[in-house]
Symmetry: C2
Subunit: 192 residues, 2 copies
DNA sequence: CTTGAGTGAGACAGGGATGTCTCACATGGG
DNA sequence: CCCATGTGAGACATCCCTGTCTCACTCAAG
C-alpha cells in the first residue's frame, strides 16, 4: 500500500529538511531524516552515500549560505557597526543550521575542517579588523575572539529562540546590541 | 599480568577525568572514559550504572560547581559589573564542562531538564536584573537573553582556547569586556 | 500499450557500543 | 595465615544504526 508520488526527489529540499531536523535533534537517525524529508531511507541513501556525506553536504550548504550572507551584507561599505547589523540580519535564517555545524565541528578533535570555514572566519575577522583600524572598535578584543563570540551568540540566540526564552523578532537586535554595545548603559563609564 | 592497584576508586576523580575527556570529545566511549580515569570499563560500570547515569552525575557535578561559583562571586555585593567579572573568573575552570553540558542539553528536545539549571539561570538573571534596577545596565536587553549570552560566550571561549585561537590567560577578560562593554570603543557614540 | 526510471517497503548482514557476567588476582583486616 | 572486598581482563549477548540489496509498484515518456 501507499506507493506514493514517484517524482524525482529534490536534493535541496532534502537538505533543508535535514537541516531543520538536525537543528532540533542533532543525533537524529538517517531514518528520521528521511521521514522528515518525506522520503524513504532507501531513497535518502540513493542521494547521499551515507551519514557522513549528508553532513558534509549540509556543511557545504551552510558555507554557501554564509558566504551569500557575507556578500549580501556588503561588509566593505559604510560604518562597521552597520555592516555587522546587516551581517547578522542576513545570517539569521541560517543560525540554526550554523549552530548545528558549529557544535558538530567540536565533536572531532584534530580533524581537518572544511576550508570554507577558514575563508568565512577570515572575512568576518577582516570586518572586525577594519572596525579597529577606523577607530570604531576597541583594539583590546582581538578580531579572532570577536568572530568566535559572534558564532557563540548566534548559536545561543538560536537555541534561546527555539526554547521560547527569547522572542524570534528580537533575534538580530539582541545579538547586535550585545556584540556592539555590551550590557552597560551607553552613558555609563566603566567603573574599572 | 598487570593486576594493578586495587585501592577503592575515587568516584570524584573518575568524574573529573570524564569531564576533561568529554569536554574534548563529547562522543567518547565508556571504554575511553574508563581508560582516561585509569580504571577498567567493568569498574566504571560498577560506579555508574550506565552512560546515562554518568552524564547525569556529570550534570550534578557541573551544577554543584556552578552554584559554588555563584556563591563565591558574592553577586549581591558591589557594582553589578564587578560581580559579573567575579562570576566569570570563578566559573572559568568549569567552562569546558559547562560547554559540554550546554550542548548536551540541546540534544534532547522537550525532555525535562534538571531543576538545578533553572535555579542557576534564575540567580544569574537576577544579577542582570539588579544591574538594570540600579541603572548600571540597559533595559532593552532582557536578563534571560543576557544569561543565555553568557553561556554562549563561555562555551565559545572554552572552545577557542582549546583550539588555540585565544590565549588562556585572556579568557575572563575577553568574555567580561565583550559582555559588559561591547565591541565599540567606550568613547564612540553609536552612528545609528 | 509498453517500457524504463525512480520510489517505498522490507530483509539482511555488519559494526560499534552497551550492559552483564565470570574468573583470576591483589590488598587490607581479622 | 586466611578471608572479604574490590579490581582488571575478557567473554558474551544485545541493541541500535548503518549500508546494501531485492522486489513490487507508480508514473511518465515513447
Amino acid at each position: 500500500m501507499g506507493y506514493g508520488c514517484v517524482m524525482a526527489v529534490d536534493p535541496d529540499h532534502v537538505l533543508r529538511s535535514a537541516a531543520t531536523l538536525l537543528t532540533r535533534k542533532s543525533t537524529a537517525t538517517m531514518d528520521e531524516v528521511a521521514r522528515a524529508a518525506g522520503i524513504s531511507r532507501a531513497t535518502l541513501h540513493r542521494h547521499f552515500a551515507g551519514r557522513d556525506a549528508l553532513v558534509r553536504a549540509l556543511e557545504a550548504l551552510g558555507i554557501a549560505e554564509c558566504e551569500a550572507a557575507l556578500d549580501a551584507a556588503r561588509l566593505d561599505e559604510g560604518p562597521v557597526g552597520d555592516a555587522v547589523r546587516r551581517l547578522v540580519a542576513e545570517i539569521e535564517p541560517q543560525a540554526g543550521l550554523l549552530a548545528f555545524l558549529y557544535t558538530e565541528n567540536q565533536l572531532f578533535e584534530g580533524e581537518e575542517q572544511n576550508a570554507g570555514w577558514a575563508r568565512i572566519d577570515e572575512r568576518i575577522a577582516d570586518l572586525f579588523r577594519r572596525g579597529q583600524e577606523t577607530g570604531e572598535f576597541r583594539i583590546d578584543l582581538t578580531p579572532a575572539w570577536l568572530t568566535e563570540a559572534l558564532y557563540g551568540l548566534l548559536a545561543s540566540a538560536a537555541w534561546a529562540v527555539a526554547e521560547g526564552r527569547v522572542a524570534p523578532r528580537e533575534f538580530t537586535y539582541m545579538i547586535v546590541e550585545l556584540l556592539l554595545g555590551g550590557a552597560r548603559r551607553p552613558t555609563d563609564t566603566p567603573t574599572a
